[in-house]
């Protein structure tokens, strides 16, 4: 019976083929470490957010006079509303945590290199869409931080030359953040996850074209690839279990860890909070915004701090495989960058006073300096490494990579 149904479907839709090609026969490098779990986890969190979000939308009211109370209604009166809402708020943080680790892995192992530039760029677009979604969503509870955060961020568009003020009014739908802003942010917050879903599909099509990168930094021989299912499904699900334990610990025992106390005060346009802080995942970028004394410069720096990642495939001119493991200078830069981002996050969370202003400026300088230095450092590093003599395992990787390319060239010719 089942076979008959499958045959019936396969005459009309290539289901068996798709399952074979994308899952049971899909070749995956067998040496992937657990750092390669985070793409799957990001997809899983997206689904959590979509489902919990749809249920929240059934009870939420996008109206400035009702929004705050409707969230409390969800927390108190709706059956397991508190669970759904905390799932969604914790899920937002989990999403960024997973995505940042996913990006850090890409940077550490040089996974953005050819031929995976489009993976990296679609990933960049996904990050920006995710940030926009989080920003829209943060306004919805209509707390003090929601309101003032939206007020500050939308006002940044006022720095656009000539049209600035008009753009700000156009974005808010009013002269200040208000009811018009709330309803449109709600509409966009509901729309964007589906756009993200579509973008994820493109990200995955690109992935299945070029296949996964792996810690060696080269494309493995056919014999070193194993099917996605059952090997990596088993590995991904084990990773998912570990992730869910961490996620649930926060969700059930510290659900307000990432929620500013001020956001439990209803939005009050007449009273600015003592200091306005964004959510933790925006803090490093917020620190960069504040580090530049000139607002226009700050906005440009903040935009660049996110967009600059896109040129990584061109900034990194080294061809040494194996990620940062065999590249001492790149590894140092990676670690300095990671520390720098953490310090920026700390600076972004604190009121800008005295030494913290200087610290934020120094870290902003390092943030950009590392990008700017990379073309020179990576080129010289490669020269130096080759002159010094590469370790045997790197030589082996390069030789293997050349053999692989030779095989691929021949195959392409035969076709």
């Amino acid at each position: 019976m089942a076979n008959k149904i499958m045959a019936w479907i396969d005459e009309r839709f290539p289901l068996t083929n798709i399952v074979k090609h994308e899952i049971t026969d899909y070749p995956t490098p067998r040496n992937l470490s657990y750092w390669w779990n985070f793409g799957f986890l990001a997809g899983f969190v997206l689904v959590i957010q979509l489902i919990s979000g749809i249920f929240l939308a059934m009870h939420y009211k996008a109206d400035t006079s009702l929004a705050f109370d409707s969230v409390e209604h969800i927390m108190r009166e709706v059956n397991y509303g508190w669970l759904i809402r905390y799932m969604h708020s914790t899920g937002a943080s989990a999403f960024f945590a997973v995505i940042f680790i996913h990006m850090a892995r890409t940077l550490y192992y040089g996974s953005y290199r050819a031929p995976r530039e489009l993976m990296w760029w679609t990933g960049q677009i996904l990050l920006i869409m995710l940030m926009a979604t989080a920003f829209f969503g943060y306004l919805l509870p209509w707390g003090q931080m929601s309101y003032w955060g939206a007020q500050v961020i939308t006002s940044l568009f006022g720095t656009v030359p000539f049209l600035g003020d008009e753009i700000v009014v156009w974005l808010r739908g009013d002269f200040a953040v208000g009811d018009a802003t709330l309803t449109r942010f709600f509409a966009l917050h509901y729309l964007f996850p589906f756009l993200i879903f579509g973008m994820v599909a493109i990200h995955l099509v690109a992935l299945h074209m070029v296949k996964s990168s792996n810690p060696s930094g080269i494309d493995l021989q056919a014999k070193d690839n194993i099917p996605l299912h059952p090997y990596f499904t088993a590995k991904d699900f084990y990773g998912l279990g570990v992730f869910l334990i961490v996620f649930s610990l926060i969700l059930f025992f510290r659900p307000n860890l990432f929620i500013e106390p001020d956001n439990y005060i209803p939005a009050n346009p007449m009273q600015t909070p003592a200091h306005i802080v964004p959510e933790w995942y925006f803090l490093p970028f917020y620190a960069i915004l504040r580090a530049i004394p000139d607002l226009v410069g700050g906005v440009i720096a903040m935009a660049l701090s996110i967009l600059l990642f896109a040129v990584m495939p061109y900034l990194d001119r080294s061809k040494i495989p194996g990620g940062a493991r065999y590249r001492p200078f790149y590894r140092i830069m990676f670690i300095v960058f990671a520390i720098d981002v953490v310090i920026l996050g700390y600076v972004g969370a604190k009121p800008p006073t005295g030494f913290l202003i200087t610290l934020g400026q120094i870290c902003t300088f390092f943030y950009f300096a590392l990008f700017m230095l990379l073309p020179f450092v990576s080129k010289r590093e490669e020269k130096w490494l080759r002159a010094k003599g590469l370790p045997a395992e790197v030589e082996a990787l390069i030789a293997s990579d050349e053999r692989q390319r030779e095989i691929q060239r021949k195959e392409a010719l035969r076709k």
């Binding site: 550490y108 088993a234 699900f237 649930s248 059930f252």
Partner: protein, 218 residues
């Protein structure tokens, strides 16, 4: 990559630590141990209803919610008189009058334990931080310039035993307001324990599955 993960954990710690440390003006918060028993919550409820709610509101708490902290139906019926079970607890708040007296409308208390850094510890510290100054004025060290006069007379109580009693009452108020801010917290923590146990067992099994599947390779 390992260093990166530890960095990330440090980052989360730093980002969240601010919510545990001192208050915004640097005044340290009292280190309190809340009594979350139903008896304590009920004592706190009575204190809040009979004192705090003369001026403050408790926006989201209805009579029927009181059943959740162990009040029996008869007690709630006596409290609500002719009001329906789903009506909010009454407040003596006359916004105009209070605003004329103190210059501001007293804030709603329902979410107070979530809306201040430190939560219940903040509430406890605030109510025990009134001190008589050299000029005879009574000032709050946690919230200088606060409009609310010392509601429990904690600052002017000399007798040690009476002071202890007031502090116990304030602790009950802090417990009750923690409950009003997050009435499902207890249910959440209980459910959390079961969820974690379930997930740990599931993850161990998933690990074994992974091991066995990968054992086929060599």
């Amino acid at each position: 990559m390992k260093q990166l993960l530890s960095l990330f954990i440090i980052y989360l710690f730093l980002a969240s630590s601010s919510s545990f440390a001192a208050s915004d003006n640097g005044h340290p918060l009292a280190d309190i141990k809340l009594d979350r028993s139903q008896a304590a919550l009920q004592r706190g409820a009575n204190a809040v209803i009979n004192s705090c709610m003369l001026c403050h509101q408790l926006k989201y708490i209805k009579y029927r919610n009181l059943l959740d902290i162990g009040f029996d139906q008869a007690t709630v019926d006596a409290m609500r008189k002719d009001n329906p079970m789903s009506s909010l607890l009454p407040t003596g708040l006359d916004k105009k009058l209070v605003e004329d007296m103190f210059g501001i409308v007293p804030p709603d208390l329902a979410l107070m334990a979530k809306a201040r850094k430190g939560g219940p510890a903040y509430i406890y510290t605030l109510l025990t931080s009134y001190h008589e100054q050299a000029d005879g004025r009574i000032e709050n060290l946690l919230f200088p310039g606060i409009a609310m006069p010392d509601p429990t007379a904690h600052s002017v109580t000399e007798d040690a035993a009476a002071k202890k009693e007031i502090e116990a009452k304030i602790l009950d108020i802090a417990s009750f307001l923690e409950w009003t801010a997050d009435p499902h917290a207890q249910e959440r923590k209980t459910m959390g324990i079961y969820v974690i146990i379930y997930l740990v067992i599931l993850t161990i099994m998933l690990y074994i599955v992974k091991k066995r599947v990968w054992a086929r390779l060599d």
